[in-house]
């Protein structure tokens, strides 16, 4: 077997696709998991976005009899209260996804602000911000919401839940970004920029931050998964506002109406699958982001073909 043959087997040297894209984005799109994850996420976001157009019924009102099985009239059947499950699923997605993304965007933003500032400034500023971070780390988010929920009539609304996650969830990421900033700050290109008289904001935003972009994106994706799951979990146990339509409250009603025991699986499964779907999409995106951050993960590709090549030459193969 020749090197040429191996090269063909490993599918190397083919014209690279999508060369007009910047390199990290290209890796992301060409990675199968990243592409599938993005498509899955795009699908669920679009469906939720166009809920007013797609939903056949008003999710808040009765539109049929109690626990009607799926039919052409009600694609996913009705709840015990006679509300259309399909419409609820679409509208619920709007709230759940919005809460997840907004909470994650907010907490990432705070994390960048606190982490990068304390890592770059050092000294007293760093001590104060690290103290704040440590305090936030020991405040548990979930119990805090349970306590807060008792202050609101009719449970905590999705907005409140999202805000609490944003405020309690940034501390870990701030620590990671602080450490990373401290590492990059000692690099000579930062010293060079400082000696040049570059202003601090430009050093932080242009010189330091782009070097940890993939780390930040990874943290943001994980944060979103956490926020969506935690919100659904809280509402499922009844902490949230029961009159809101979200995937979590749908699960809550399904469970308290004993839908499964009554044989009405359609009141539980759709929102459960939707949550899993979103989680899976985001996890796959995260895998792909990992690949960009750490190219060594891709080195083991095609090891079987390489071993075949080695065996044909009588050289011991890789494990």
């Amino acid at each position: 077997m020749s090197i040429k043959q191996l090269k063909a087997d490993l599918k190397l040297g083919q014209q690279p696709k999508l060369t007009w894209l910047p390199a990290p984005l290209r890796v992301f799109i060409l990675d199968k998991r990243g592409a599938v994850g993005s498509l899955m996420l795009l699908f669920i976001v679009m469906v939720s976005l166009f809920a007013p157009v797609l939903a056949p019924h008003d999710p808040y009102r009765r539109s049929g009899a109690s626990h009607e099985p799926p039919s052409s009239e009600h694609l996913l059947g009705t709840t015990r209260m006679g509300k259309d499950v399909f419409s609820q699923l679409l509208y619920g997605g709007r709230t759940s996804l919005t809460v997840g993304f907004v909470a994650s965007i907010l907490s990432t933003f705070i994390a960048i602000l606190v982490g990068v500032t304390s890592g770059y400034m050092g000294g007293k500023v760093d001590e104060a911000l690290t103290f704040l971070t440590n305090v936030m780390l020991v405040i548990p988010g979930l119990p805090l919401i349970i306590v807060l929920a008792s202050f609101f009539d009719g449970g905590a609304s999705p907005t409140v839940i999202g805000l609490v996650f944003a405020i309690t969830g940034w501390a870990w990421m701030a620590r990671v970004l602080r450490t990373q900033t401290m590492t990059i700050r000692t690099k000579e290109f930062v010293t060079a920029a400082e000696l040049m008289g570059e202003n601090r904001l430009k050093i932080i935003l242009v010189q330091i931050f782009p070097n940890m972009l993939s780390l930040t994106v990874g943290g943001f994706v994980l944060g979103t998964i956490y926020a969506i799951l935690a919100e659904a979990g809280l509402e499922f146990i009844g902490i949230g506002d029961p009159s809101a339509v979200t995937w979590g409250t749908m699960l809550h009603w399904g469970e308290s109406n004993q839908a499964l025991q009554m044989g009405a699986w359609w009141e539980i499964f759709p929102e459960a699958i939707a949550i899993m779907w979103t989680g899976a999409a985001l996890v796959m995106i995260n895998f792909s982001v990992d690949q960009i951050t750490n190219p060594a993960l891709g080195a083991k590709k095609g090891v079987n073909k390489i071993n075949k090549f080695l065996n044909s030459r009588g050289i011991a193969s890789y494990e």
């Binding site: 000579e188 290109f189 010293t191 060079a192 000696l195 040049m196 070097n211 390489i306 030459r313 011991a316």
Partner: protein, 620 residues
Amino acid sequence: MNSPLINADEKQKSASKQYQKQAILEVKDLSIHYIGANDITQAVKKVSFSIHPGEVLGLAGESGCGKSTIAFAIARLTSLPGLISDGEILFKGDDVLRYSEKQLRCYRWACTSLVFQSAMDSLNPVISIKEQICDTILAHKKVSLAEAVIRARELMMMVDLDPDRLDEFPHQFSGGMRQRIGIALAMALEPELIIMDEPTTALDVVVQRDIIEKIFELKEKLGFAVLFISHDLSMMAEFADRIGVMKDGVLLEIANSAEVWDKPKHAYTKQLGEAFLTLDAATGEKLTPISDEERLATPLLELKGVHKTFKTKKGWFGVKNFNALNDVSFKLRKGRALALVGESGSGKSTCARILSRVYKPSAGVLNYKGVCSSKLQSKQAVSDYQKAVQMIFQDPFSSLNPTLTIGYHLRRPLELHHEFENEQALQAKIYSLLKQVELLPVEEMAARYPHELSGGQRQRVAIARVLAIQPDIILADEPTSMLDVSLRTGVLDLLQKLKEEENIAFLYITHDMATARYFAEETAILYRGNIVEWGDSQTVANNPQHPYTQLLLDSVPDPKRPIAQRIKEGKNPLREIWDPLGKGCVYSQQCSGVFGECSHMDAPIIEVGKNHFIRQFEYL
């Protein structure tokens, strides 16, 4: 097959008379490929050589030539994306490439072991030396722990380390000592071949001398063979029996070391040998001597009696002072370079940081154009000073931001310190800067990212970035030490051109006396925070007066003095006394320290010749 290889075979035949015994390792037609994202590239092309018992075979070449790849292949440490694609590696007749995992475990370390470049990384920081050595022994030999400890003590003594320090951890040893531990570890199982991958590259010149002499002594005593990999041809010529020269994966020639150094067959070997500035070759013929008027004129930048003390923590509350610089004075003149020569930890970089105002001096003054600049207040004054004094860093891989284009790196300093009528004028200036540092074609270079450039090209970008500001003074912190030898003179010549044409003053920080002599008009030798000798570079190099300078110059590898001869002459006695890593003040070796406050700080300065000064030393 090309002719050099045939020559190499002939050489081997003549050499084999010298080594009657069977070759211990034979590499035959070894090819190694790397699997990249788009292509499979060949890193080693049909390389053949053999190593005989008790022989030192040097493998020389620049970065990326495949020398380390071969070393790893011999130990079968090649891992993906590396791929040994063809050939044989015969260890006493057995093909290593066909060993199973189990056979490999017996072969590795017991038959061939490795010493790596960075002993810091190859020793585990959280495990004591004793455990690391004993683990190695116990993994291969059925002996009791007590026996293994005895062996470990024996090994420590072999490399001149105190066996009672076995229980200590790697960070408690200096760089040179860690490399000795690395060698002890490699000898633990008495292998017949030790592969050394640039074992002295990260070390200072005096320590390097220590290590190679130790390796040579041990080799003579124990009779193992050494495959010594290095980019330093002059050191290899002094140390190795035979040298192989590699370029782009091809073994160009392999012959007795004297032959390779004196009568190289291949044009590239010749080029490599010439690129290496030895002390004798670098006579500084491109430099013009400094006139007396220049000496009397107000210097551009001047340090006067500068001290720098760092406070380090000692215990929970205690503070210990560490004197990094002690009464340092020097002058930088327009269009001239001052070389600051010293080993790591001598305070070279602290000097540069004080000049660039990153650190404030603890005592003494910093004069810029005759005006004291250590306490600049106004924003304008700080900005003016920044504009005047710029720095080039040692590591071109860390001094450019990987996320920004070359164009941006040059654009910012221009925007910050100069005004341009419009975008086109700015763009034109960027291109002219790239042209000045010979990075062509300019449009393409400006659009590239740092990872698309070689080390030498990156250093040129770093120089262009500094030029963009149009400084009066450039502080160059070992600008060539991370570059391949063939690129070094190119970068130095570029700096030389700037020095003459733009009348820039340079502070050239280096550990290499030869390049100091090549590039700088004046040299100052820094030893543990003190300038011990200074004067015109030629005078200092030809007629060193201070024992430390003499030691430094004596330690520089010299192919004309083979190592066997040096060992016969005996160790340089100065080495015992002038230890750059010693604790305390300069005289601590001779001082019992029981007299309270140290009074050694203000040793008088003596003029030993015209413009040639040394700090007095007491021990003689």
